[in-house]
Symmetry: C2
Subunit: 413 residues, 2 copies
Amino acid sequence: MSAAISPLAPKKYPKMPVIEGVRMATAEAGIKYRGRTDLLAMVFDPGTAVAGVFTRSKCPSAPVDFCRENLPGGKARVLVVNSGNANAFTGRKGRETTSATGKAAAKAAGCNEREVFLASTGVIGEPLDPGKFSHLLDDLVRDARPDLWKEAASAIMTTDTYPKVATATVKLGDVEVAINGIAKGAGMIAPDMATMLSFVATDAPIAAPVLQALLSGGAAKTFNAVTVDSDTSTSDTLLLFATGAASKRGAPSITDVKDPRLSSFKRALGKILKSLALQVVRDGEGARKQIEITVEGAKSARSAKKIALSIANSPLVKTAVAGEDANWGRVVMAVGKAGEPADRDRLSIWFGGNRLAHEGERDPSYSEEATSAYMTRDEIVIRVDLGIGRGKATVWTCDLTKEYVAINGDYRS
Amino acid sequence: MSAAISPLAPKKYPKMPVIEGVRMATAEAGIKYRGRTDLLAMVFDPGTAVAGVFTRSKCPSAPVDFCRENLPGGKARVLVVNSGNANAFTGRKGRETTSATGKAAAKAAGCNEREVFLASTGVIGEPLDPGKFSHLLDDLVRDARPDLWKEAASAIMTTDTYPKVATATVKLGDVEVAINGIAKGAGMIAPDMATMLSFVATDAPIAAPVLQALLSGGAAKTFNAVTVDSDTSTSDTLLLFATGAASKRGAPSITDVKDPRLSSFKRALGKILKSLALQVVRDGEGARKQIEITVEGAKSARSAKKIALSIANSPLVKTAVAGEDANWGRVVMAVGKAGEPADRDRLSIWFGGNRLAHEGERDPSYSEEATSAYMTRDEIVIRVDLGIGRGKATVWTCDLTKEYVAINGDYRS
């Protein structure tokens, strides 16, 4: 665990409004950590719709399997999240734990087991004893309150150095609806949803299939466009809940993803997902700098994203940024290793507004001084123009510092 | 540059025999470094055959382009290598430099420009002025001697902490032939030949197409099966020269790769390539431990290699080994993220002889004590059985330490 708070932590937190139909409670279950909360229950009013995006790992955790089974029902009444143990690669015992927790949560919330969602984060491969927390669920559901978003975000942290929240209010039809989100994640973060848990809720009345389309689309350019260390977790879970409570205030029920009344909501949801994903990057283990990488002029958007991720995951690029060294040669290297179409002699590279390379060689007007000054910033923007097409993509990462090694060389022990 | 020699450096160096038909010379050209050699010329007798394997980077260096153009001729008379500047991403200037160096080397060696081979290693993106060293080539060729293998290996080093050599003698027909090799590389090492230069020579009379088949096959299981940081260089070059001088002593001329007389030679060449590749891994920037990763029971050999590389390139696996932590959960994660066929519930994992996971969960008989003792070794063997097929592959890497970050956060400045 890292003691110091990331220098890229938010300077201040937004005031999180109440989302009608959502209540929360946290507890100190002592699963692994001492003296902090490690258990979250989020309770939803009847009629809440749910959508989800999960890790693409071929070795998903038991809670991911559990959520995937319940998701097609499209309904959620309670979410239980623990930190300290991922319940991943725990075999039969892992399935027994999710089953027991699902039953206990359904009983506590008075709902069907298919309306329960679970997430676990922490060490992989250690059996998770449901007896450590399932007896707490009755009290949690009973005592749940609508105003505990930051506390909820804190309870799900592992190596995170700060809780991550985001909020927006937006018009749906003529009625204001709210969207709140929380997230956790600091390492094992790579596209395809790395050790990232994120839970977003709204009072907008949006049907589950529409919710799913919005979430999948939004995740592609946010949670699936960030990487800390190229490592993908077994446990990544992004869930979006819509209680529909705003319909009482006259908000229209949305059942078609092409409904034009959705456009503001869609934009706001995208902003929340991006904010949460970037908060994860900015809390990347050992991170001192945020790096935004845009690749344009690629053969396709897919190709651009692959090259951008090759740059973002390159230890040599990340250590260069940590050392405040505008080592654009390593960017060339990372473009070259991506295996995607590229023409060395058409490549241009910018660090911020400074063009360092142009048409396959060092830019003759490149200023070492200006670039060195730029590299001292805590947000670095790298732009690459391949000059061969119109494909474009942006991804985000952080630098690679000695602290990353320290945190991860001594995590389990 | 790292000052300290890797703790995994060879305890002693082999005596390198003379390879008849090969002479060498080194010089201090002052291209970037001071007080050390940075230029190597290797001169070959007429009739020397050559084969090569190069980086798969889409942004190869100018010397790689130059070698690729000359390779189809199959003949070599002189090799010129410099360290300190990679002549990569140097555009038109880069091509002018290889052209000028090629001309100067051909003149010095009295050969055709098509018989010249070049390699450069060091910083990317800085123009390399051929005037810094082309005037030295006449003297180098004239003064070249057959007994400078270790000096040659030293001249081509960049962040390497020790020179890398290997040698073998083997029977071809009834005649003993020798194979010598040198290599450099410490970072930006990933399969597909990362910043790795390696030059191997033999006096065996082997035709160029046969040499090429031997080299391509040998590289796949050696140089293309090692990774330090997943980063692939623009400059990787592995060349194999056969002077044929042993034919004077009665060695048979080999013109068919299926010639049964080749078998011992092929095995010995494989051993040399493996020795050199492992010396590169053991000099991985900041490395304290060598890690061998074998994946078996995969759907295919190709799939096994992809999963093995996913484990080998995982920063979380590499930092765990650095911290002497048998964190097999991260191995599960790396299997899962590879995207290859895998069944979580059939997976078994060993660290050395200790089986930590079996059939999808922690091995009940796993001994924390025995495994912890094992992790203190400086050579760690990780074995994964996927249990779904017969595909198998082995790759090698090193651990990821704070020193890697220190070396690479401060390389260019």
